[in-house]
Amino acid sequence: MVMGSLRQETQVVVIGSGPGGYVAALRLADLGKEVVLVEERSAFGGTCLLEGCIPSKTLIHAVEVKENALAAAAFGLGCTGTSIDLDRLREYTGEVVDGLSGGITSLLKRRGVTTIQGRARFSSSTTVEIEGGEISGIDFEQAVIATGSSLNNLPDGMTSSVWSSADALKLPYVPESMLVVGGGYIGLELGLVYQGLGSKVSVVEFFPRLLPGADHDLVEVMVKSVQGRLDNVMLDTKVRSIVEKDGGGFTVRVEKDGKEDTHEYAMVLVAIGRQPNSGDIGLEHTKAQIGERGTIRTNNECRTDDPNIFAIGDVTDGPMLAHKASREAKIAAEVICGHPVEFDNRAIPAVVYTDPEIAWTGITEREAEDGGIAIKVGRFPLAALGRARTLGRTDGLVKIICDPDDELILGVGIVGPHASELIAEGTLAIEMGATLEDLVATIHPHPTLSEAVMEAAEVALGAAVHVNPPRRP
């Protein structure tokens, strides 16, 4: 046996072990396939687990506990101050990540999935070569590409010593002041984490609004709540240059309405989106095609243009979200095994872990407007909800978007505490083809925030008991 020329044969090779790749590997193994999983990193879990969702939500939760403790003064609970042990917080986040990554390792092992560390590149429609691994290549019948996405590069003229979101999640230190470039969900979530840890945080966004994908009424409630926590929010503003100063800190030149301005920050966090990892994986040796935005072209069975090759998750079209990748993973695995499945989901929920959280699913009001789709909307403010009062969190609302004719639920938008959890009911309602009456006639436990979903449906139905009817003239 000569090292470096050892080849392996398998039925299916999965490239990448994020929430797309590892789920595909497990499902394939459960369905009786012989599976090899190739991961470039030394740990399983991909961006989501190693430098995305999981560490960021751990930090967000930590800050939320601190904020809640401080807010408890309003209930008469004195909190004389909070201290932050950054080392312990970093260690704790690492424990969470390691625990979950180890869990994936054991799931893969129990299923008999062969795992190989290395970089996989296709050399044909049935072979990949592995760089940096003990195995030099794999001959497969089918492949699932789950290579995910990576951070967008900084434009020219920007220094590279700024932080990316991955850098920030490692908690190197808490800078005294920080500019977050990018008012999307990653920038806002991490900006609020560092604010909670003690930084003076400003945000600059190229577009005239924060969270451009979300409906304005939801974003407005969140902005109002976090306004006091953010130093300066610059919208409709371009970043002209970021220059590192001698002796630390950055000088940032911004431009708004043709006027330039200069600000100084101890650190700059750049969160300007992600790009699909479709290059440098040898796709040119297969029949798979890359679309306009760099994503691998797939159909609703997650098939690429190459009959042997499937692609799922961030490297394909659609929102770059872990739960979308996991759903596609199961579809690809089942299609490979001959099941009659396809991606026909009606709604992919989106969640933003700001404080309060924002979540939406199905159609947004904005999309309905842009698409000329007639809708009816029922809004219910959390201020009218008992449970929200008990929590002292009345900053929020739930809205139900439905078809005005037959009241089929088309979309749900939520801003408020635990919006991330509450949105699940809305997604289920849309997938099941539920109507307003279905939500209204379902008993929701009291007192909970989930009652707001039922109440919003009642408002849309014009039958809300907890909202005053419009005054008669």
Binding site: V341, N345, R346, D403, E407, L408, G433
Partner: protein, 440 residues
């Protein structure tokens, strides 16, 4: 634009199953170039394109059944619709692809996906039903699992796989499981002790090739299961001594080889004539039992079918009015119809109306068989291979030409004694050509 309607494929053929498209939408087809292969209950035919031009629409996928007169393709031959059919009002375009607006299409023209639970959507895919074509019975037009099953039941032979033959389909796909479970439950509720289980995945033990059950094969399958299920079969076997008959036949054949009827003279022609005489004497074997009306219908005409192996499957050409035809006429007709059947060109009219069937596997070999009655007939005669055998005649062993015969008959109408008499009479007539002359 030229709307090409499925042409009349022969007498009595109302529909055909699409076997293969030779063109795709967007392709250009030349006049008289192959357009589509269609298989009817009797034959597969390639239909050429009557016009040349770009194919703008094809209706129906492989496995779909289309009716004669349905628009199967729209060809842009450069003409406007009006110039093609200048007088007649345009045909309703309902049968043309694209499909009629789905029920979910809104008045304002926009379409939204049909509301249906994910499990229902999966069920539709498993049953090969396009859920977007179903008008849901639930609130807001929600499609229920029952809606899907109802739609699937309305088109029971809709193929679930788009692909044609020789594709390996995983044997234990959930779709098959579901359809099977429903079928098995239904069947078991009507037949006590009947237990149906899905077939194992044969591919586990070695390579397999899977082929769809198509028209003729499917038709044979239906007929045979119906016959074996409904009719209590009994078989009666005996041997006929055809030494004299064969001598006579061969001498006539060689003497008159120029005559098409005599030149192709086979034993079958004599048997048909002898059977006709037998049926007149024993009308029960030329009858049908109507189990729903509880009546026996005795037919006063004699149409004898003979099973023909065509390479595409079993076809039974029928010789009509055999009581009014000479052996020579019958012989001529057998040769003619067998030839047409092999070419797949036998008119449907020549395959219907039989009152009794003969299956002659003799030329291929065989001494005994248990033929299946061609339902709703009452009996079928199987002819084995004529062989020289030592037999005892008048206390001496002599070599005679022996034809083994098996009569399978419907025990609801006839009994063993009837069959013994019927076959005995047949044997008697086949033993002496003079008797055929005298008695038939």
């Amino acid at each position: 634009m030229f709307e090409f309607k499925l042409p009349d494929l022969g007498e009595g053929i109302a529909e055909g199953e699409i076997l293969k498209w030779h063109v795709e939408v967007g392709q250009t087809v030349a006049e008289d170039a192959p357009l589509v292969d269609v298989e009817t209950d009797k034959a597969a035919v390639t239909i050429p394109s009557p016009r040349g031009g770009a194919v703008t629409a094809l209706s129906g996928k492989v496995g779909d059944v289309v009716n004669v007169g349905d628009v199967v393709a729209v060809i842009d031959d450069g003409s406007a619709a009006a110039t093609v059919e200048p007088v007649a009002a345009p045909e309703p375009p309902a049968a043309v692809a694209p499909p009629a607006a789905a029920p979910a299409a809104k008045a304002d023209g926009r379409r939204r996906p049909v509301p249906a639970a994910p499990a229902t959507r999966r069920l539709a895919r498993e049953m090969g039903v396009d859920i977007n074509t179903i008008a849901g019975s639930g609130p807001a037009g929600r499609v229920t699992a029952d809606d899907v099953r109802g739609t699937a039941a309305a088109e029971p032979f809709a193929p679930t796989a788009e692909s044609d033959t020789a594709v390996h389909v995983p044997a234990s796909s959930v779709a098959d499981d579901q359809a099977f479970a429903e079928f098995a439950a239904h069947a078991a509720s009507t037949i006590p002790f009947l237990e149906l289980e899905p077939l194992p995945d044969f591919a586990v033990d070695g390579p397999v090739e899977v082929e769809k059950l198509r028209s003729i094969r499917r038709k044979v399958a239906r007929k045979m299961v119906t016959s074996m299920t409904l009719v209590p079969h009994v078989a009666h076997m005996d041997d006929a001594d055809v030494t004299a008959l064969e001598e006579f036949r061969k001498s006539q054949k060689s003497a008159r080889s120029g005559d098409p009827g005599i030149g192709s003279l086979t034993l079958l022609s004599f048997v048909i004539k002898a059977i006709t005489a037998g049926l007149r004497a024993a009308p029960a074997f030329n009858a049908s039992l109507d189990p729903f009306k509880e009546e026996i219908v005795y037919k006063k005409y004699y149409n004898i079918g003979f099973a023909a192996d065509t390479g595409r499957g079993l076809v039974v050409p029928v010789i009509k009015g055999t009581d009014r035809k000479s052996i020579r006429d019958i012989s001529t007709e057998i040769a003619e119809k067998a030839g047409l059947a092999r070419e797949g060109a036998l008119p449907a009219e020549d395959m219907r109306g039989g009152t009794f069937t003969i299956t002659n596997v003799g030329p291929l070999g065989g001494t005994a068989m248990l033929p299946t009655i061609n339902y709703p007939e009452v009996a079928i005669l199987g002819m084995g291979r004529v062989q020289e055998k030592p037999v005892v005649r008048d206390g001496e062993i002599v070599i005679r030409k022996i034809l083994p015969l098996t009569l399978a008959f419907d025990h609801r109408i006839a009994d063993g004694a009837d069959a013994a008499r019927f076959v005995g009479e047949l044997i008697r007539q086949l033993s002496d050509p003079n008797l055929l002359l005298l008695e038939t």
